[in-house]
């Protein structure tokens, strides 16, 4: 059933244009009818062309002829990206491969999943309006947009070409960063000493210096704060320029230690002088073309009705919360497995079952919160759950 899509398949190109048009028209309206039409159209294409996906759907009794609502489109587990190359284009057309961080593993213990891309246009068109809106909201839609100093606590894309995060930061720097922007990693790890010196300078010149954005993984911030505590400046309280912000993403699984998010935010607020309202968490993954961001910076700056801190996404993506026992959407406010339908994933699979749990929240349930991993067995016995980390240790 699965065919090989031809390079430059006109159906795919036409579809990409429709999604690109949505991404660039600046509308944030949740247009359910438009989303549903495009999602079903994309499903038809991916059912036919994505390696294995069609057979997966058929085995579940789901085909394009039986589906008229995107909620019925089968979601593949993100771990499947560790098992196979899931792309709906000719393999020769691959121009980019993003790999997962390697801190999570599939059922085989294989460390890294891969997203194959034949175009970056959708990926970039999706990420830019989102990062503008939720990390740099004062510049969202402002034609006189002024660049900002962005310091990235991650590798530059030139040295980590398979990191979607580095790629995203690269785009943010290119489009939004000023001349003082740059990367703080050297040889793959955070070079904390010059970063601390730089932060001290920013702090001392807070009055004249415009706001600064620090972007990186959650663990990079832990590393920075540890280094600050171990440095001769441990007793200094930094106060980054007014309006400075932090964008952090990712978790701690596989790291030497975990820090609860509220503790991390307390430390960022107290040690770096960045207001809690200006700390933004991003929820994303290498397998997804779109990302989701905390709402509160956007709401605090753009005014209007403010809700609780929650994740908000673009109109071309939908997040659902599924009851694992029934496969149905859970009721509002109840916890479920997070499933994402992302129209930016035209080249692979748009419907993904993540390894996370979450629940809908916010103003008329417009957002969601991530509650952690669907980790598996409870500690009711002495059997090893043989989870991914244990399997990895076996190898």
């Amino acid at each position: 059933m699965t065919e090989t899509a031809m390079l430059g398949d006109p159906r795919r190109q036409a579809f990409d244009q429709k999604v690109l048009a949505w991404m660039t028209e600046g509308s944030w309206e949740k247009d359910d009818a438009r989303f549903n039409t495009l999602a079903c159209e994309l499903f038809e294409f991916q059912f036919a062309y994505c390696t294995g996906y069609g057979r997966f759907c058929e085995a579940l009794g789901k085909t394009p002829s039986t589906i008229s609502n995107y909620r019925d489109i089968p979601a593949v587990p993100t771990s499947a990206f560790k098992e196979a190359r899931l792309h709906s284009f000719d393999a020769d057309a691959t121009i980019k491969v993003f790999r997962t961080s390697g801190t999570t593993t599939g059922s085989t213990g294989q460390a890294r999943g891969s997203l194959y891309l034949d175009t970056l246009s959708l990926y970039e068109a999706s990420l830019l309006p989102m990062i503008r809106r939720f990390v740099f909201p004062e510049r969202d839609g402002d034609a006189s947009e002024k660049p900002i100093t962005i310091r990235v606590l991650a590798n530059p894309p030139e040295t980590t070409s398979d990191s979607s995060l580095s790629h995203m930061f690269g785009i943010a720097l290119r489009e939004l960063g000023d001349g003082d922007s740059g990367y703080e990693n050297r040889d793959g790890t955070l070079d904390a000493t010059p970063l601390i010196t730089r932060l001290l300078q920013f702090s001392e010149r807070a009055e004249e210096k415009g706001p600064v954005a620090l972007c990186g993984t959650s663990f990079a911030f832990v590393h920075l704060l540890d280094a600050l505590d171990a440095s001769p400046h441990r007793d200094k309280t930094l106060q980054l320029p007014r309006g400075s912000r932090v964008m952090e993403t990712g978790g701690f699984k596989g790291r030497s230690r975990e820090v609860p998010r509220h503790e991390l935010y307390d430390a960022i607020e107290n040690r770096l002088g960045v207001a809690r309202s200006h700390i933004v968490n991003q929820y994303g993954m290498a397998e997804l073309g779109s990302q989701f961001y905390d709402s509160q910076l956007y709401e605090s700056i753009r005014g209007g009705t403010a809700g609780p801190r929650r994740k908000l996404g673009p109109p071309w993506a939908r997040v659902r919360f599924i009851d694992p026992e029934t496969g149905e959407d859970v009721a509002s406010g109840q916890t479920g497995m997070i499933v994402v339908h992302d129209l930016a994933n035209t080249g692979s699979v748009a419907a993904l079952q993540t390894e996370d749990l979450g629940r809908r929240t916010g103003i008329e349930d417009d957002g969601f919160e991530v509650l952690g991993r669907a980790s598996g067995a409870e500690a009711r016995g002495c059997s090893i759950a043989a989870d991914a980390s244990w399997l990895k240790a076996m190898r």
Binding site: G52, A59, E378
Partner: protein
């Protein structure tokens, strides 16, 4: 009174209780403890009935599963079997005042999980050696330890006075310090827990650790005739389902040795039917959404492997109650537990041994079916690899009382050699 003060008071009380045993001879102590096992073995005893009533609510198992698990687990645990185990380990028990062996002045016992039999044994064993027991119950089961203490007290109040159940939070470091100051420490738990406890112990403290383990099965399906497949599957379904697959003797992977694709599919279907039937008779308990999501994810991954052209098959209940995944290879994959079993083909017993060798350090039990004349050699190889229990289908969850869990002696490791004094708190 703070938790740490309560701990100190418990320790003082246990020291006093220990001295009250001085007048007892070993035979009387062993006889009293043997009687405790007979009491627990009786499904109509007060302690059994109370445990059956309270454990489901405390630990999340269904009443049917608790009853079935206790019936199976206690069946071979007679008082006589217990006394024989003591004799096997310590030698003949003298009739007079002579002591066979003496344990430490105090033993701290950390329980884990909510399967009652190991909890009972962990509390009783130090008492054989006259060592009072300071017991931290499992956070998921605050019922069993107290009932065990009560049952011992009912049979023999002096021995019962030698037990103090002291629940405390992991984060309560002051109490933990006092608890782990005992001259002998016995811990059941995950590798992380064991590592954490070990880091707190002084070199002169005796220690006995029981880690989390994995169990598996091997089925020589080519050698099992079609008429016997269903009964083998039924017995394996019991091994998988008792205690909702959460015990270290719960098999999570079955390796199918030899056999054609058809034989493998038939066996998978039989096992699925047996699990479905067992679910009706003995339903699985409630599980968290995280655990259910883990099962769904593993099912989806297997279906995806099938879609990618591998010979993988998923047979499952409508909800998450049970799952059989037939894999196309013998790669060790995640085990989300809660009645989720993987069937993996291996060509022969040599491949079986090679496949499970990487998990040797964590291997507990192996159930074998259909090996006939090859069984003895295979069992020997498995024991050499590290399996502490090799048995027939349907028996895995009912080990004899002298089962050398983690290949460790039950009593000998707790005998004091020079009986070190109780360490000062913080030692």
């Amino acid at each position: 009174m703070s938790a740490a003060d309560r701990m100190d008071a418990a320790v003082r009380s246990l020291e006093h209780a220990r001295s009250s045993l001085d007048a007892r001879n070993d035979q009387a102590i062993v006889a009293a403890l043997a009687k405790v096992f007979d009491v627990w073995r009786d499904p109509n005893s007060d302690c059994r009935r109370e445990l059956e009533a309270r454990l489901p609510g405390a630990a999340g198992f269904t009443s049917e599963n608790v009853r079935a698990g206790l019936n199976a687990g206690f069946e071979p645990w007679t008082g006589d079997a217990f006394a024989q185990m003591v004799r096997n380990e310590l030698g003949a028990i003298p009739e007079g005042g002579q002591r066979t062996a003496v344990g430490h002045p105090l033993t701290s016992v950390v329980l884990a999980g909510s399967i009652p039999m190991p909890s009972l044994l962990s509390i009783v064993l130090p008492l054989v050696l006259r060592s009072p027991v300071l017991c931290k119950p499992a956070s998921r089961d605050l019922v069993t330890a107290s009932l065990v203490a009560k049952s011992i007290h009912t049979v023999d109040p002096l021995l019962g006075n030698c037990i103090a159940i002291v629940p405390f939070e992991k984060e309560d470091t002051a109490t933990a310090r006092a608890f782990f100051a005992s001259p002998c420490v016995v811990v059941t738990g995950s590798s992380e827990t064991i590592q954490e406890v070990e880091s707190q112990l002084a070199p002169n403290q005796a220690r006995l650790f029981y880690g989390h383990r994995i169990s598996i099965g091997a089925v020589n399906i080519a050698a099992i005739d079609a008429g016997s497949i269903a009964s083998v599957a039924e017995r394996l379904a019991i091994d998988v389902s008792l205690w909702d697959q959460l015990g270290c003797l719960s098999p999570t992977h079955l390796y199918l040795v030899g056999g054609s694709d058809t034989q493998i599919e038939n066996f998978a279907s039989s096992l699925a039917a047996a699990l479905e039937a067992y679910e009706k008779q003995c339903p699985r308990g409630e599980i968290t959404i995280a655990a259910a999501a883990g099962i769904v994810r593993e099912r989806s991954e297997a279906k995806m492997r099938n879609a990618l052209g591998h010979h993988t098959r998923v047979l499952a209940s409508e909800g998450t109650q049970w799952t059989v995944v037939t894999e196309h290879d013998a790669t060790l994959r995640a085990a989300p537990l809660h009645r989720f079993i993987r069937l993996s083909p291996v060509a022969d017993t040599a491949e079986l041994i090679n496949t499970i060798a990487p998990m040797a350090d964590f291997l507990a039990g192996v159930v074998l079916a259909g090996f006939a004349e090859d069984r003895a050699a295979l069992a020997r190889d498995l024991k050499d690899l590290g399996a502490s229990r090799v048995c027939e289908p349907g028996e895995l969850q009912a080990p004899p009382i002298d089962w050398a869990r983690d290949n460790q002696p039950l009593l000998r490791a707790m005998i004091a050699t020079g009986s070190p004094p109780r360490a000062k708190d913080g030692a």
